[in-house]
Amino acid sequence: MFPTSTQCKFWMFGSEEELNKLRESANTKHIQRYGRNVGESSKYDFFLTPEEEKIMVKRFELHLRDFCKRFQPPMPRCVIGTAFHYFKRFYIRNSVMNYHPKEIMVTCIYLACKVEEFNVSIQQFVANIKGDREKATDIILNNELLLMEQLDFHLAIHNPYRPVEGLLIDIKTRGSLHDPERLRPGTEQFLDRALLTDAIMLYSPSQVALAAVLHAASKLQENLDSYVTDILFGEGGRDKLEILIDAVRAIRSMEKMADSPPDKNLIKVLDKKLEKCRNPENNPDSEIYKKKMQAMLDEDDDLYNAISQQNQIRDSSALNMSLPASPEVA
């Protein structure tokens, strides 16, 4: 149920401005923390600006979509939708410079596969990745917990796909449209593109679904307005109609802006810049990262040793006590 979900309670936002503000604050926090000795005026020479971060996120969203489309075995749509949600949520609170989107992207997809019950093993999963698969496995598994933590463990996602099915059933039953199945290709296309926008964090899944259906209808020169106003909102919903019309209009205008891939030269520049300014503590290729992991491992070992030693002491003391008590031992 969407209205009672964590998605509705914690991860729906009022406007794009609110989202952008959150992203900006993540960016400034990062710079404050790691760029203390960089001057205020020259900080963006070294660090990414919030705008640049947005471009990077956008770029990896496109990556995410392509990766999912090419994934073998083919994955259900809801996995893609869920992965998109995770990815967007993560970069509302975190800076691109702290965690590289390339790594978070695959982790999001892997986690989405699990949550949406699309069963692939990690071996099967990394088989879809080019390059060093062992390293990719390490990255995904190391980041998985971090990702969940950053999502506050709110893992259930309501995607707009089932609402679309419901709307089509309803239109077929109560509407007067001829052959509503024709709407399907247009709807799906719309939803794919809507994932790239912030619409899924501003509007409820059913609103997105309705916008998609209406968009598909208008493309086919059909009109569903009477269905919406008279049947769907017929009883007691008149006063709410305005909200819906606004929402649908906003979603459709956002979708129009969705598909503009960033300039290739700009991407190259940004990639280089990010490579320089990314947090070495979270870069698996850096020495600091390796040292950190080693330290964690050592800590584990130390802990293990301490526990086993304790156990041994306890065992031997228990045995001593038993000596006089048990005649057979003596």
Binding site: M1, F2, P3, T4, C8, M12, F13, G14, S15, E18, H158, R162, P163, V164, E165, G166, L167, L168, I169, D170, K172, T173, L202, Y203, S204, P205, S206, Q207, A209, L210, L232, F233, G234, E235, G236, G237, K240, I243, L244, A247, D315, A318, L319, M321, S322, A325, S326, P327, E328, V329
Partner: protein, 314 residues
């Protein structure tokens, strides 16, 4: 016990080590072979006091003093009827009075005091408490039950230990044979001095034995009685806490759809929504999954949250 003899045939334990003394209700002993002899003709009476005896009343004598044996016998018979437990009495004093009475009866019978009257008393008691006796018979006392359990456990432990020892012995035997064979092989095929070989083998055997002796005894986690260390012998569970709070009241869940009301379940079935959904397969129906559920869910999700807006709240 050695100088104890059968009163009839005068056989002693010394003459016949397998002598088994039997005892009957009267409390006079008789050896096993004499008992066999006595009942050869079908029925017999005690050679000491001449009261007629029944064969199946003979038991193996456990106590040296046959009169104790007699008392035990009487006690068993009396307690069969006087089988009230402490729980049956309202106060401890009443229970103690009851025990006193039982003891008196047993004493009288064992020492032949006022036998007729005492027997009458028992008969009367039996008549009066017929129901209660029957009831108590069925229920084994709690103590007896626990004791039985303990005995059973001990028996199992013994069995396991026996098995272990047997296994160890057979392994040791095998090892010995192997060592012998190795020695013979060595003597046959090696061309070093035979004396040296024998000596080195003896040395080796000795070392092995020493090592075995050195082996630390296995860690014990239980006493020989089968009770675990650091734990009370009888694990009794804490009583389940009963919650005396107010009774739970079921309130049906109300759906806040935040959108238009989705069609009710009846309408879904009757108003033709189902015509546009794939019907369930046989396997799905077996799992209790019906088409109308899927249809309802899709419709609900389509309507829910249509009124959603964050702007008003901000």
């Amino acid at each position: 016990m050695d100088d104890f003899a059968c009163p009839r045939c005068r056989t002693t334990k010394f003459q016949n080590p397998s002598l088994k003394m039997m005892v009957n209700v009267c409390g006079h002993g008789l050896c096993e072979s004499c008992v066999d002899l006595l009942f050869l003709k079908g029925s017999g009476s005690c050679p000491d006091c001449k009261i007629p005896l029944r064969r199946n009343n003979f038991r193996v004598q456990l106590f040296e003093d046959a009169s104790v044996e007699k008392e035990v016998d009487i006690r068993r018979r009396v307690l069969k009827d006087y089988n009230k437990k402490e729980e049956d009495f309202s106060s401890l004093a009443e229970y103690n009075d009851y025990l006193e009475e039982v003891e008196t009866i047993i004493y009288n019978l064992a020492n032949n005091i006022d036998v007729i009257n005492t027997n009458k008393k028992i008969e009367q008691y039996k008549k009066e408490n017929k129901d209660q006796i029957q009831k108590s018979k069925g229920r084994l006392g709690k103590d007896e039950f626990e004791l039985e359990e303990l005995l059973e456990l001990e028996k199992q432990m013994n069995e396991a230990r026996k098995q272990e020892i047997l296994l160890e012995e057979s392994q040791a035997k095998k090892k010995k044979v192997q060592r012998k064979e190795a020695l013979i092989d060595e003597l046959m095929f090696s061309n070093t001095d035979a004396k040296n070989i024998v000596q080195s083998f003896a040395q080796q055997a000795k070392e092995e034995q020493e090592e075995e002796a050195k082996k630390p005894p296995q860690k014990k986690t239980k006493f020989s009685t089968g009770i675990e260390f650091g734990r009370k012998s009888q694990v009794s569970f804490l009583p389940v806490p009963t919650d005396d709070g107010p009774l739970y009241q079921y309130t049906p869940v109300t759906l806040e759809p935040d959108g238009p009301q989705p069609p009710a379940e009846n309408d879904v079935i009757t108003k033709g929504f189902m015509n546009h959904v794939r019907t369930e397969t046989e396997q799905e129906r077996a799992g209790g999954f019906q088409t109308n559920i899927a249809c309802m869910r899709a419709l609900q999700e389509a309507m829910m949250g249509l009124y959603h807006t964050k702007k008003v709240q901000c």
